[in-house]
């Protein structure tokens, strides 16, 4: 078990943790505003092509999107349980929960890639490659272009999250996260839950209504 390093600009670990936590939230807020651009573009297109977007949602792969929603909700629980373990010095529990979180992340990516394959097969591909016979409208093209852009951007974030969580799992098994100091684990689980939170909204507007 290693001693946490105290930066020279800090008087104590508590102050260091508070600063790191605040910095992480600033990063998360900037991520929210990054996604805001995509949500705004979607809202504008949906207002212009409302019927086609409604049709697009009905033609989308609802089962895949919903399966991924439940996968991500469960992964947020396991990520929180990892933090719960670290706060009680349960090294093995923390590591196992992080492994479960990373595995659920990989499951999400696997479902997403299967879903993308289905879209390619049926022609609901973005921009100039669009040739989906069941919705041969320009609004349909816009819907699926937004779908690919938003979910692609999201899955890249999730893949980064899987790497971070896997790295944290290794550190957890080595005993780097203790009840006294575990702020870096906290930062990682915050990022993971934000990715989950984004999917809740993506699922609502791309698969549900």
């Amino acid at each position: 078990m290693s001693e946490p390093a105290l930066g020279e600009q800090f008087h104590d670990l508590e102050r260091q943790a508070a600063t790191l936590r605040f910095g992480m939230w600033i990063f998360l807020v900037s991520e929210i505003l990054l996604f805001a651009a995509l949500f705004t573009l979607y809202a504008a297109y949906r207002t212009m092509f409302s019927e086609d977007f409604r049709e697009g949602v009905l033609h989308n792969t609802f089962a895949y999107g919903t399966a991924n929603l439940f996968i991500l909700l469960t992964s947020s629980l396991t990520a929180s349980l990892a933090l719960y373990g670290a706060r009680r010095d349960r090294r093995r529990w923390t590591g196992l929960m992080l492994v479960a979180t990373a595995a659920l992340g990989l499951a999400f990516i696997a479902v997403k890639l299967t879903e993308y394959g289905k879209h390619v097969e049926e022609g609901s591909t973005p921009g100039p490659w669009y040739h989906y016979a069941e919705l041969p409208t320009f609004g349909g093209n816009r819907f699926f272009t937004m779908y690919w852009g938003m979910t692609g951007f999201h899955v890249l974030h999730l893949a980064a999250g899987v790497l971070v969580v896997s790295w944290m799992a290794v550190r957890a098994f080595k005993g780097h996260y203790t009840a006294r100091y575990h702020v870096k684990l906290e930062m990682g689980t915050l990022y993971w839950s934000l990715v989950d939170l984004m999917w809740i909204f993506l699922w609502t507007i791309l698969y549900l209504s």
Binding site: L28, V29, L33, A43, E186, D196, S209
Partner: protein
Amino acid sequence: MSVKTASLGSYLLAYLALLLMAGVAIVFARAVPWPRWDLVIDLALATAMAGVVLWFFMHLAEASFQIRLGLGVAVSLLLTLLLLTVADVATRHEQPMAPRPGPGFGFYRR
């Protein structure tokens, strides 16, 4: 490090609440024929789900005032951006021309 810690029960309850809300959203979207309002209802449910994730899984309940303020400002800016954009597009007397498909796009109905 002095942090108020969430209990195991609160995490499990939050998870169950999320599953329940997702189920309600699916029922509203698929079984209730309310085409004008289903998006609004589902977005409201998504916002409630996001609130649960933020409060319990992202530990906003334990966060400082500065963090809550920063998040509040970001969400307000996002909502302002969305509302102004939708209001602009929806209330123009003449809709802007939709982007035209490229040459040879006889594929599209309109």
